[in-house]
Symmetry: C2
Subunit: 390 residues, 2 copies
């Protein structure tokens, strides 16, 4: 029998990863009700196919890998030059100065958001509540102290620095936010940059949903003057180019962060072995002008879905936010349901799978997240069911 | 200026990852000597193209991803059922009983070998010296105590449990070994299993090179009775099917390990987002009968390269081992060179890049690793240069 000491911090984690539990309940319902179609608006997983430009690049790269003169072995640790350059050019097209050598390619923002904990010593980690569970899970696993910042209806789900500790910390910002869909404006982000500079803190800004911004909210924290000396930015092609099943993301460690960038490279080269060549070529294509145009069509498609769902919530007088700069709609559970109760009611009565707000943190209780990443038929059908049955 | 407390353990790491430093020196030499061709026998990176069956599967999957009815988003956390089954069947074909649900697909054995540290509390970690640097690097980063087991010419580079601590520990075994090429026989592995069972220890057996075994050494630790209750096995398609630039590997957590498998799933679902669909389909094809046959040809090709290099070392009377069950040849640096000195001499005089033994641990000093993962022309040319100039 094993007698090794295991990591005691696991005992402080919730029993299972949020989406493992929602999936379990959905599968159970489906097994018991095989004739009923469940509309999946739970996990933030895209459904539109990869753009033609992306598929072409992937096919070309796969063929290369089958030829002696086109084969590629281990990729450079921080990503191929062609992709780091494409990412830097994408920032440039948005008026943001990021150099290729500041870009570290990875297989996902989840990997980056959790991997960055390896760089931290004993310091407070500041995390909004509710938020994407990965930051808190990684924090708990690593035994770090978490300071939760309440994101509530009162502050527009955008917590401000006045609740953060007055000493150097690592602050996770997710904007546009998962799950609430709230996005910081320029003034709001600038407040965080000022806080970071005053306290010597590091901001880790998860911008995975920035492609969905349709308002004037900044689509990169580096639009805020001075942010390069205090912020790492994470971004991903998962939601912008439909790469959830293809896996490519990046972290920006600006040279102004000094030794931290070197630590990240050391961490990545010791613990990670790069992203597949075919995927990096596909990512390059996704970031090309043609690739971006094709992805824009998918984003517009998901935006229309969001509007359909928001419309019916408005009709019903159900408080909701998001859906503008974000594929997520965040709604107040109507009636007296708590969020897992509402999850079950939606699943059993409306056959719509969403995600209970409580899964994203204490302040998510009483709320519910729906995603717009479905087909337009499903969005219509979901709106119809909500119109009739909610 | 950033004032966050960073992870102090980084200060105990070597300045750069071993292969980052060797690459730096090689690039410098190449920049200064652009007319001279350096033969790369350093990094254990394959050069033969992906097998036709693998490329076909990848092309098919890429086309699927471009169609609404074939698109795949997030993969199941532990890998697609089709791949977990293919891996289990591969074990079955070698007479080893591993169930699909005991297999956890990942993007690389490096990710798994470092990620597993997240499961450990305060316990001694037992690591052979010399060995693949990832285990020790991850250990140092996580602040765990390392017990090094000397792997020397005297013990055939296969340390035995008598030097390991008498309490529950995590033991890393790499067999066939990187860098020495030494592989444990049945009796040697059985000694480790007996030790693990006596002390309640966990064995992490890295079998990434098992496809190279041509002797009667076991190609899985699960060939040893009782190993399923004390051992995790890591394996990868990097070296067996040329996936270094495609990225697919797996960890086996047998159900006999109890809660540890659940902890691994919890860790993976919180910190990792799965392997690309196209890559999992390619991996499935690599494990098919036809894929295995095609890979075998590449392995035989690399074996012939190893024999060419071993021959010239024998002619020269230079002590060496490996090259039989392994793509690595481990040789004693001739003359008075230390291993970095020999690295520089090989690079500057013979224009052959290898890897200094000291980079793999204290006991690697005085030794040098060459890989057989080159083209046959390069193996011939390297043998020729060594014959003339060594």
């Amino acid at each position: 029998m094993l007698k090794i000491k295991t990591n005691e911090n696991f005992a402080s984690l919730s029993g299972s990863y949020l989406f493992t539990e929602t999936q379990r309940r959905i599968r159970l319902f489906e097994a018991e009700n095989p004739e009923k179609k469940v509309i999946k608006l739970g996990i933030g997983d895209v459904t539109r196919p990869l753009a033609p430009t992306v598929v072409e690049a992937m096919l070309r790269a796969a063929e290369e890998m089958g030829r002696a003169d086109g084969f590629h072995g281990y990729a450079p640790e921080a990503g191929y030059g062609f992709l780091r350059t494409a990412i830097a050019e994408n920032y440039a097209s948005r008026g943001v100065d990021v150099r290729p050598e500041e870009v570290y390619v990875s297989d996902g923002s989840k990997s980056d958001a959790s991997g960055i904990f390896d760089l931290f010593g004993d310091l407070p980690v500041v995390i909004p509540d509710p938020v994407y569970p990965v930051y808190a899970d990684s924090c708990v696993m690593s035994g770090k102290k978490v300071v939760y910042l309440p994101a509530t209806r009162e502050n527009g789900f955008l917590p401000t620095p006045d609740l953060a500790p007055d000493r150097a910390s690592a602050i996770f910002i997710c904007s546009p936010n998962n799950p609430t869909g709230a996005a910081y404006g320029t003034a709001g982000l600038a407040e965080w940059v000022a806080y970071a500079k005053r306290t010597g803190s590091l901001i880790v800004c998860d911008a995975a949903y920035s492609a969905f911004i349709s308002s004037d909210c900044p689509n990169s924290i580096y639009r805020i003057p001075g942010a390069k000396s205090c912020a790492v930015e994470l971004n991903s092609l998962s939601k912008s180019a439909g790469f959830t099943g293809t896996r490519c993301a990046w972290a920006v460690f600006p040279r102004e962060l000094g030794e931290l960038a070197g630590m990240w490279l050391r961490r990545q080269s010791a613990k990670f072995n790069g992203v597949a060549y075919v995927v990096q070529r596909a990512a390059e294509a996704a970031l090309s002008k043609q690739g971006m145009r094709e992805s824009e069509e998918n984003i517009a498609y998901y935006r229309r879905n969001a509007q359909k769902i928001c419309s019916v919530l408005s009709e019903k007088g159900i408080y909701h936010t998001g859906g503008i700069d974000s594929p997520y709609i965040w709604l107040k559970c109507p009636g007296t349901d708590d969020s897992w109760g509402f999850f079950d009611r939606m699943l059993h009565r409306l056959r719509i799978a969403g995600t209970p707000g409580a899964g994203f943190g204490k302040n998510g209780e009483g709320y519910f997240r729906l995603t717009a990443f479905c087909s337009d038929e499903d969005a219509d059908e979901a709106a119809e069911r909500m119109r009739k049955l909610l």
